[in-house]
Symmetry: C2
């Protein structure tokens, strides 16, 4: 019981689905083995849909929707953990969230990257405890076991040291991949971010594309009453034929400034093993 907050008689059942791209059975086995070692209290339920393949996606839009709904509407499941990003959640999030039952409210939902489409739609609808953090797919990274264990620390134990250390109690937060959120503006997936500190991170985008997405995002959020914006990590920037001339922090400072959004510094999120948890909404811990 040293790690636990619940009794051994009620394991934390974590339903895992893939709203975007396919996971692999080998990686799932590694995540299950790690969890058995570090979080014996957790019971991981990988839906078979995680391993479906349909073109780019982990099964058809219907299959990915059905898998998410079956787990989220199951009263015996305590948490929904999105297996992997990649692209695809935007195609199902709006319709899927509309079909959630009341039991979906009693769950944690955890993921990042493309899963941000579902995090946003869930938070917009006021459903569950939504959080931005590592996914089963992180098992494939260098030191990825740290990231997976941190996610389980949050899901199973709500461990405070899994959180981004810069979070402040009493403040509202949301966190997203920049490009994912940029494509959610003006759609039925983006939540109301008034009075929130928004944290964004980016991966594998040219700096000109980062600048363009920041132009778009800050222009769209200029008048909604954000408390401010923070920058997670911006990694794996492709080399262009010439240097861009500004680094990511200078870019976000410029676009935030010209749109009267307060820039509040760096945050500990990103597409890496150090990706810390950011629960959406008012932080009470």
């Amino acid at each position: 019981m040293a790690q636990g907050t619940k009794s051994i008689s009620s394991p934390v059942r974590i339903g895992i689905c893939a709203p975007s791209t396919p996971f692999t059975k080998d990686a799932a086995s590694r995540v299950i083995a790690l969890a058995a070692r570090t979080h014996p209290h957790a019971e991981l339920v990988f839906d078979e849909q995680c391993f479906f393949e349909d073109g780019h996606f982990a099964g058809s839009d219907k299959q990915r929707t059905d898998s998410f709904l079956a787990l989220a509407n199951d009263p015996d499941i305590d948490a929904i953990w999105f297996a992997r990003g990649g692209y695809g959640a935007a195609r199902i999030a709006e319709a899927a969230v509309q079909r959630l039952d009341s039991v979906a409210n009693n769950k944690i939902y955890l993921g990042y990257s493309d899963a941000g489409n579902l995090l946003g739609a869930l938070y917009r609808a006021g459903i569950g405890e939504v959080a931005h953090g590592p996914m089963p797919s992180d098992i494939g990274r260098a030191d990825g076991e740290q990231a997976v264990a941190r996610a389980l620390d949050w899901i199973v134990h709500r461990k405070a040291d899994a959180l981004d250390p810069g979070l402040i109690s009493g403040q509202k937060y949301a966190a997203f991949n920049l490009m994912t959120l940029a494509m959610m503006t003006g759609t039925k997936l983006i939540p109301d971010l008034r009075d929130h500190i928004l944290i964004v991170e980016e991966i594998s985008e040219y700096l000109y594309a980062f600048d363009r997405a920041m132009f778009h995002l800050c222009s769209n959020l200029a008048d909604i009453g954000l408390t401010g914006i923070k920058l997670g990590r911006v990694d794996d920037i492709p080399e262009n034929d010439r240097p861009f001339g500004e680094d990511p922090e200078a870019i976000i400072k410029r676009w935030a400034g010209s749109n009267a959004i307060a820039y509040l510094g760096r945050a500990e999120i990103g597409h890496d093993a150090q990706n810390r948890i950011v629960p959406f909404g008012l932080l009470k811990t």
Copy 2:
């Protein structure tokens, strides 16, 4: 006078600036030599700013703005031709258009790709005759001289056979690069597209990114009263690690359909030598 609609005594003066990325003197010389051969009536004025370099850009935001304004506010210039795309016009378009004088109204503005940010801001402000079509940079393409000559056919002679052959007189049009327009939604650069047929084209994007941008664009335009949407060419699609499972036309049909936007078929625009002219607004020819 076989080609001309004006007398030899009044050449058409075309001011060329680079609101995005740098042009080269060698390419400018080739465009000038071509124009001298095919359109002796045109006088091409390449602003020195076209060749400036500042990181990613053809000079600083201020230098690119000043060059555009000097040409657009010059009563002796008949047309503004954007030299090249790449990224950068979004950083200057809103402020630049606000500083245009009344003489800026009497001009054609021609370009595509990233220059769409300026086309959109100009059309939103009701300034000039805005058109989507080839740029001086097209001289570098295979058969690029055709594209450059087509642009000059439009600027100098308003030749009807330079137009996309699918355009219908009495209909309103606008045309953009998909990603450029997706990043303009919700900003002060996007014009009112009510009652317009919108034409989009794309280049060098993965199909998942094309799908994501279509999700974003169609969601944002669902309620504005578009007459419909047409698809230009979608080229140089990078190979992903697996096939996407749909082609570009199936993607646009699906997103247009789910957002109650009429899909109206293909159009003759794209990042290629066959890129035809699409004048913004009501087509009267």
